[in-house]
């Protein structure tokens, strides 16, 4: 019964040195690379934010979403419409897109919180598949630009800062990412994070302890949608275009592949996953039009079979082994047990 569930800190303190080094490296990169590479890295960071959002929901709260591309699209369109029709400055659209997606996510989560895992997967599958059609709907064409979509102007650095537009956007996106990653880290370490994991691992026990599961599920859905929506807003600035066909079902599947390959229920996994979905399809697309999804599919199945915690899990294992060689072995803190239901039911 639930007493078998160990009470452990869900997320340990961040390893300070590696994080500081990583941020320093990330700040140096745009001065070493050409504009196109910087643009690609910007997209990697954008994807990392979106993946972190999905991972909060699917990894930590255990709710499967096959339609997170929809929230990415809502964020992107919010930014595009605000900039195009209302002349809102680009930086202000980022929190606004986040707020819109938070609301949309909570609303969808309210419906979804009644659903078991599998049914939620079905409902979000429907959302992901029907999204491009909704975006093309002719009665909202005035706002969305219909099939043509909306073209955006690229944000430029404020006068006085000697950065190219690509570099400026890169730093903006990097800053947002650091804020959001720190936020997610704190969220997961605290009260809310434990409740999320409790609901995932043992819903009955969580409810018996007085946790309002439905409320937390819809809130998690909202926060997750907010992260992904902010990523969408930043992504639309980077590619300077939103259109219905950029948000096909394949986008939602890419996010899913990203969190699985990067590592379910890990924060750093979002970065590995983002690198994967940014660069692997590009390389694979040179082989054949069909190759990217074949590789996605193969990786999904292979990771489930062989590497349930993805790249982040593998990295952690390697680091732990290396440390164990040199020093006293650390207490095993594998908090991402993905087979907890045995303990529960």
């Amino acid at each position: 019964m639930p007493s078998a569930l160990p009470v452990r800190s869900m997320v340990g303190p961040p390893p300070r040195m590696p994080v500081a080094l990583l941020i320093a490296a990330a700040c140096a990169l745009p001065f070493l690379l050409g504009d196109y590479r910087v643009f690609q890295l910007t997209l990697v960071i954008v994807h990392a934010i979106a993946l972190l959002g999905l991972n909060l929901l699917t990894g930590y709260a255990g709710q499967i979403s096959l339609g997170h591309g929809a929230f990415y699209a809502v964020g992107a369109y919010t930014t595009a419409i605000l900039m195009e029709h209302f002349g809102v400055p680009y930086w202000l659209t980022i929190p606004m897109a986040g707020a819109v997606c938070l609301a949309a996510g909570v609303l969808f989560g309210l419906c979804a919180s009644r659903l078991e895992n599998l049914y939620l997967a079905l409902a979000t599958f429907g959302l992901g598949v029907s999204l491009p059609q909704i975006l093309k709907y002719k009665h909202i064409e005035h706002w969305t630009g219909g099939v043509q979509g909306i073209t955006l102007a690229k944000p430029t650095a404020p006068s006085g800062i000697p950065l190219s537009p690509d570099q400026w956007l890169y730093f903006l996106v990097l800053l947002v990412m650091i804020v959001l990653f720190a936020g997610a880290h704190n969220l997961l370490r605290g009260h809310a994070g434990r409740i999320m994991v409790a609901i995932r691992d043992c819903p009955i026990a969580a409810r018996a302890m007085g946790i309002d599961a439905a409320r937390y599920k819809s809130l998690t859905f909202g926060v997750s949608a907010m992260y992904t929506g902010i990523a969408g807003a930043l992504g639309s600035m980077a590619v300077q275009f939103v259109g219905p066909d950029s948000f096909s079902f394949f986008l939602s599947l890419s996010f899913l592949v990203g969190i699985v390959v990067g590592g379910i229920s890990t924060i750093s996994g979002a970065i590995y996953g983002a690198l994967f979905i940014q660069f692997v399809p590009n390389v694979a697309g040179d082989i054949s039009k069909a190759a990217p999804s074949a590789i996605y599919g193969a990786f999904l199945i292979a990771v489930v079979y062989a590497m349930p915690h993805g790249v982040a899990g593998a990295v952690e294992t390697v680091v732990r082994r290396l440390r164990a060689v040199g020093a006293e072995p650390r207490r095993a803190t594998d908090h991402r047990d993905s087979h907890p239901r045995r303990n529960c039911a």
Binding site: G126, S130, L256, I301, V304
Partner: protein, 290 residues
């Protein structure tokens, strides 16, 4: 009035296809409590197989039967090789494997056959035997095939020992094992059957939606809606749900919202059913013992 009647009848025809794909979903759900997201792509691959056979000069019905047999074997093989290793893992892992399978099947079909849209022959004549405009020959044929399929499955599950054994495994695998039923074999059989049923759905819808690697994504969404509407654990409900969804789709498309938002209708239907009545029309209320 004629147009209205025509909409209803052709809705019943496409509804029959959604129903049979929903039936395939329900068969797997009953045995494993999982929804097979790759069901549509399996059906699509079967349809390509039939297309290849017909192009190679096979008579239609020979190709039809050969496709059913090969789909059955492929379905059973997939259960054995791909699904069984993750059988005991949490729902997320299995859903991921289904999605992976879906992506792989889709891209393999795209790789082999290309992404150009192809026509698929219909075995039924264009002219309606009743000589009126209410219903096309192919639509009537679809209804007959679906009715025969449902009848056969009913007889199989209701009156044969093998069917009984499969139902027993679906209800209680452990007790079935104790009375000597080979549970693994029954699960593989269930996957094979559902792949064959899906193949029928694919071959029947292909003349209408044409053949391309993404042909089933919309159909699968409708099949989900049908299965949920009928109750995801009820085979009869799946067929009735399919018919209802088909008629609803046609009527809404023709008179209310136009054809552009057809998929959205399915989405709203799915969310609506799940929120208002998660067990569907004919499903059982599941009580969990704590």
């Amino acid at each position: 009035m004629d147009a209205f009647l025509h909409q209803i009848l052709s809705g019943l025809a496409s509804g029959g296809i959604y129903g049979s794909l929903a039936l395939a979903l329900v068969m797997i759900f009953q045995a494993t409590h999982l929804v097979n997201f790759a069901q549509g792509e399996l059906a699509m691959c079967s349809t390509y197989l039939a297309w290849t056979l017909v192009r190679a000069g096979c008579p239609y019905w020979v190709a039809f039967v050969a496709t059913l047999v090969i789909s059955f074997l492929a379905g059973a093989a997939i259960e054995r090789c791909v699904i069984r290793p993750v059988e005991d893992k949490p729902a997320l892992a299995v859903v991921l494997v289904f999605i992976g399978l879906m992506l792989i099947l889709n891209s393999v079909a795209g790789w082999i056959f290309g992404y150009t849209v192809k026509t698929f022959p219909s075995p039924f004549s264009d002219r309606s035997p009743f000589g009126n405009a209410f219903i096309a020959g192919h639509e009537l044929g679809i209804m007959a095939v679906v009715a025969a399929l449902v009848g056969l499955l009913y007889v199989f599950f209701r009156y044969t020992t093998l069917g009984l054994a499969m139902r027993a495994v679906a209800v209680n695998p452990e007790s079935s094992r104790l009375v000597g039923i080979h549970v693994g074999r029954m699960l593989a059989l269930g996957w094979g059957l559902s792949a064959a049923v899906g193949a029928v759905a694919g071959m029947m819808i292909a003349p209408v939606v044409f053949l391309d690697p993404n042909m089933m994504s919309g159909v699968l969404l409708y099949a989900f809606a049908a299965a949920l509407l009928g109750g995801i654990d009820s085979p009869g409900g799946a067929v009735i749900g399919g018919l209802l969804v088909g008629v609803l789709e046609n009527l809404l498309g023709a008179y209310v919202i136009g054809t552009e938002l057809k998929l959205t209708v399915a989405l709203l239907l799915i969310v609506g059913v799940l929120v208002v009545r998660p067990t569907g029309l004919f499903g059982k209320v599941v009580v969990t013992r704590v």
